[in-house]
């Protein structure tokens, strides 16, 4: 699960990593006076925000509110912007790149660093990058930071700061199940302090401890996002018309591909996870009802769970939550035929064939 930038920065602060002073707002009116200039940043789970017009600089409160009103509600890289981060713009002397990532190729945690922070980093030659793998049996050692500092060409106070940041990053990987912590840039400020100006943090999808959510300050998300975080449901707010609920990211992606191939557009999506519970499924239906896409497409491949049980949960959910928009169900697995017939008897659109079910959902989206 990827954290929003402001969540990531809350988490970093808890681990003693300096981040620019700032706060997140959902409405331009909530922007209040602070040392100017500020940076207004769209909070979406996607890169290239600056290029797409999702990052602006403001010198006054009016400019800040104007920028925020332009950004909130935008369709940025296919995602709806619901919040902006208002952050103090800091004076920087040098911009570095520093990251720690769980690398499936080496099966290790690897630290990556480059003296060239910013968008150039991806085009750096290999010689400009340093990769320091961590031996799992040994864990983090101070030698890691020494190697990185030496490569970045920093010494003295800056080197000590790099060591503190690296150690904090490893603690986050160990304690908070982070699989990616990336600072681009990690800047040496004009007063020589080291600050994470931009940060990307991703947490292991498979085991999200609830206290991480508290550590990130996700409670301030409110509503749908706070609930999905708490239940471990992956939620992405695409801008289209067909809401999708699926179990497993792969199946969800496949479902979205089929909708797209039919000419439809995907709206809010929920991945309830491979081993979803009755509660998670019901909550997904409640949340989808609140988001109110033109149609909901529930595509679940249950494996060993009885489809009839799942269908009962779905049916009672639909009745209980007063669904007043179409829902198309495809529930495959144990006893799928009985479950399909049950839906048919109760007047709920259902098909066991993925293309057929997706086509039904597509037609509703065009009605």
């Amino acid at each position: 699960m990827k954290l929003f930038e402001w969540e990531a920065k809350n988490l970093l602060s808890r681990y003693g990593i300096l981040v620019p002073e700032g706060y997140v707002v959902q409405s331009p009116a909530d922007i209040h006076a602070m040392p100017w200039p500020v940076v207004i940043k769209a909070q979406i789970l996607s890169g290239s925000r600056g290029v797409a017009g999702g990052i602006m600089i403001a010198d006054t409160i009016d400019e800040a509110r104007h920028a925020a009103s332009n950004i909130i509600g935008m369709n940025l890289n296919g995602l709806r912007v619901r919040r902006v981060l208002v952050e103090r713009k800091l004076d920087t002397n040098r911009n570095l790149f520093l990251a720690a990532i769980a690398d499936n190729y080496t099966k290790k945690v690897i630290f990556l660093a480059s003296p060239n922070g910013g968008s150039r980093v991806e085009t750096d030659s290999i010689g400009e990058l340093v990769a320091v793998p961590i031996a799992p049996s040994v864990g983090y050692e101070s030698e890691v930071a020494t190697q990185i500092s030496s490569h970045l060409g920093v010494s003295g106070y800056d080197s000590a700061s790099i060591a503190e940041v690296c150690q904090a990053m490893y603690a986050m990987i160990e304690n908070e199940k982070c699989i990616l912590i990336e600072f681009n840039p990690l800047s040496i400020l004009s007063d020589n302090r080291l600050a994470a100006i931009d940060a990307k943090v991703a947490i292991d999808n498979t085991c999200l401890p609830s206290d991480v959510i508290d550590h990130c300050g996700s409670v301030y998300l409110g509503g749908i996002e706070a609930t999905t975080r708490r239940l471990g449901i992956e939620y992405i707010d695409y801008c289209g018309e067909i809401g999708v609920i699926s179990n497993g990211h792969g199946l969800l992606s496949l479902t979205c591909d089929i909708i797209h191939a039919l000419g439809g557009s995907v709206g809010p999506v929920f991945n309830v996870g491979e081993h979803f519970s009755e509660r998670v499924l019901r909550e997904s239906l409640i949340l989808m009802n609140r988001l109110h896409p033109r149609v909901t497409f529930l595509n679940v491949f249950s494996g060993f769970r009885d489809c009839v049980e799942i269908s009962e949960d779905v049916y009672h959910g639909i009745l209980e939550f007063h669904y007043d928009f179409p829902i198309v169900c495809r529930i495959k697995g144990l006893n799928e035929q009985t479950s399909h017939e049950m839906f048919a008897e109760r007047g709920i659109d259902s098909s066991l064939n993925l293309h057929e079910a997706a086509s039904m959902a597509f037609r509703y989206s065009r009605d």
Binding site: K2, L45, S46, G47, N77, G78, L79, A99, I101, A102, D103, N104, Y105, K107, K108, L112, S114, V121, E122, D124, I126, L129, A135, P136, I173, K177, I179, L180, E182, N184, K200, A202, D204, T206, C207, Y238, C239, G248, H249, G250, L251, S253, L254, C256, D257, I258, I259, H260, V266, E274, V300, F301, G303, F304, R305, K332, L334, N353, L354, H355
Partner: protein, 286 residues
Amino acid sequence: MHSESIWNSRVVIMCSMIESNLLIVDELIDFGTNVIALISPGSCQECYRNVPVQRTLATSLRKNDIDVLLILDFEGDIVKIFHDTVGSQLSIAIIACPVSAFEMTRILDIIAESNLVVLGPESCGIMAPSRFMLGTIPGLALRDGEIGLVCTSGSLTYESMATMTEDGLGLSMIICVGTGAIIGTSICGALSCLEEDEETKKVVLIAEYNEIDTEFMVEFIHSHVSKPVVICRVGGSLPPLPDKMGHSSVILRKYHSATRSIIRLRENSCISFANSLSEIAVLLGS
């Protein structure tokens, strides 16, 4: 991981004795999988369907010769569980439940010197419809055939199996490598297994866009797989790439690409790309 050695494996299943787990145990026993023990630390049961229920893996390893460990869920420290396997003759461990990337680094480090193959986390296992079943692959009405399937997440595996069967394709073996930032056996390991499997004549690889480095995969297949391969990548339609691991994933890819030794290409390899699951049958000429 050789299919021949899997055939008559002695299997131990670690799980809590809840209904959903017992359904899987039932399915495996009914299929004919040689389940010799269950490990359930919190259970008072001594036996389930004539299979002894033991409390710890260490006890089970002492009492039995075990080839395969299937973990449906676990209590306590998963890393410690793998510590207990050191020195045993265990050849395959399938982790069907979630395990964090950090714990996976430690598990894979512990077993690095052994011959143990780990599938997962969140792997639904390995299955050959006419030969063996190890994992949580439900008893779909599969056709026996000559196509080997490699997949990542569980539900995507189920969906792929169902679609291929509906399209008239017969499967020789299915390997689900699982999903997560760090997994045990990689897609390459699974492809190598299918290359060695005599029943498999063609191979299908289904994964999400962000789960495979296509350039590397093509290079690997060209050098290690002589059988025709169809690759189907899903998730290409999604507007942004929310799972993209920042700049780091791009940098790492470049870094590994530069540090890998140059692979000698086979001349007779055949790779094609399917845009959807339904296109697989067309590309395989069925």
